[in-house]
Amino acid sequence: MIDTLPDSPSNVPVFSVGELSQAVKRTIEGTFERVRVRGEISGFKRHSSGHLYLSLKDDQAVLAAVCWRGSAARLSIQPEDGMEVICVGRLTTYPGQSKYQLIIDQMELAGEGALLKLLEERRRKLAAEGLFAAERKRALPYLPRVIGVVTSPTGAVIRDILHRLADRFPRHVLVWPVAVQGETSAAQVAAAIRGFNALPEGGAVPRPDVLIVARGGGSLEDLWGFNEEIVVRAVAESGIPVISAVGHETDTTLIDFAADRRAPTPTAAAEMAVPVRAELELAVRNADLRLLQALNRGLADRRKYLDALARALGDPQTLLGTATQRLDVAGERLGNGIAAYLRQRRADTAARAARLTHPRQLLQAKGRDLAAQGRALDQAMTAALHRQQARQERIAARLRPQLISAELRDVGERLRRASLDLHNCTGRRVQNAADRLAAQGRLLESFSFKKVLERGFVLVRDADDRPVMAAAATESGQAVSLEFKDGKITAVVGATAAPKRAAVKALKPTQGSLL
């Protein structure tokens, strides 16, 4: 205040900073001794001292506020971020940092936060365009080669992502650095998403297969860039699937609605982006093992089936072997059988031969028998002869030849006489018979028609050689035969009258009167 620069063009008094700060403080505190101010709570913090620090904001300005411990205890509501509230208090300054702030005595709820209301309105509008439609969502690639990450190149977020990717499945990661907070954030994020999509396939910088847009947790204002329409549209239009990982799990930004997948944290985004390599290796090894086992089992099953069929078919060797064996056994038995048969027969024959008597012996025996029988016969004959002789002798002794001789003589005489009688008698009877026979013969001869014929008579016979006995039995023209004593002739009836008489006479050859 005392010193002035010699060449100062102005006579305006010069304040020290402290003086000015105090002047401002007096003015502000005097003017805004007691105010009511409406705004949304943001950046709320409850300090361990019990004081509450927070900001009140609307879409134009932010007002820092503090609620001392004493007042905080008396507040009717529990303040939290996003809450639209009306606070009563006084303004004061904090000269050490060139700041001013509201000292809150009272706080009341003022309804839905203006930003949230704005957010909701924007969400409805973009949803109506179909940017959040489920059918727009694309499946993430199973195993991306290149992963594009849109985030701040510094801080925990990119480190978390890279760590988790390295753990699960190390990949080629392209980081597109952006500001994730502040006025330019939205434009940078949108440009990065479009930039990745603009990379040509097979270019010097590989085109990512999946994008991660990530930011750590923060206040609604901190995350506000990810609610901007330009970001939401860039995500919706991206040809590359996008995973959003903005804020904490409870924070919701509009990019989450447009993204193909929403991850609660950047780490979770990395987990969505790649599978676990070890698990894949296991899956491949597993499949490989099963492949080999399945093939082997298929072969083994077929071999087993084939073996079963082959068994059912029968082993020719075995079949032949069995048959051969049977043949061998049969052949052996055959040989044995013949041998045994022959042995048996030989033994039988020998036994029978042994039982046979030699013919000489037989003859001798028979001879002996015959001799014995001859002797017996001789003896018997001799004995019989003796007996007969004795009997004859006994009978002869009783015979008397004189009796027989007399009787014989008597019988002889009688026989001689009878014979004589017989001879006489017989001679006579034979002479008589002969005489009678000669007489009868003569008589018979005299009766024969031949004798009549000899006397000149003729026998007339008809054609049937029957005698014609009467003239009435003839008819004129009938052929007849005429038998004379010296032969036969044929004639016809009715020729002349002369022979008629002779014929009539001849027809009675048997008449006895003609004799």
Partner: protein
């Protein structure tokens, strides 16, 4: 010859190759493939497995940072987040 028959595998993504491998395994396990075909299927399965393993082996963390040239041209440079 079999290389020609399975030439398409080289262009397959990991999940395509793994999916076909698992399909082949499943068919073989169910005995849906004849003997001749099952040997062909095995050969293809083995090739698919090789392809999958090659894809898995190609697992190196390579981190790059996009760099925009003054004309807006995009290039990449090595990036270490710790620095």
């Amino acid at each position: 010859m079999s290389d020609d028959k399975h030439a398409d595998i080289a262009a397959m993504s990991f999940e395509q190759a793994l999916a076909e491998l698992e399909a082949i395994v499943s068919k073989l396990e169910k005995g849906e493939i004849g003997l001749e075909d099952s040997i062909d299927a095995y050969e293809r399965g083995a090739k698919l497995k090789d392809h999958c393993e090659a894809k898995l082996k190609d697992a190196q963390l390579k981190v790059e940072r996009i760099k925009l040239g003054p004309d807006g041209a995009v290039s990449a440079e090595p990036f270490d987040p710790a620095s």
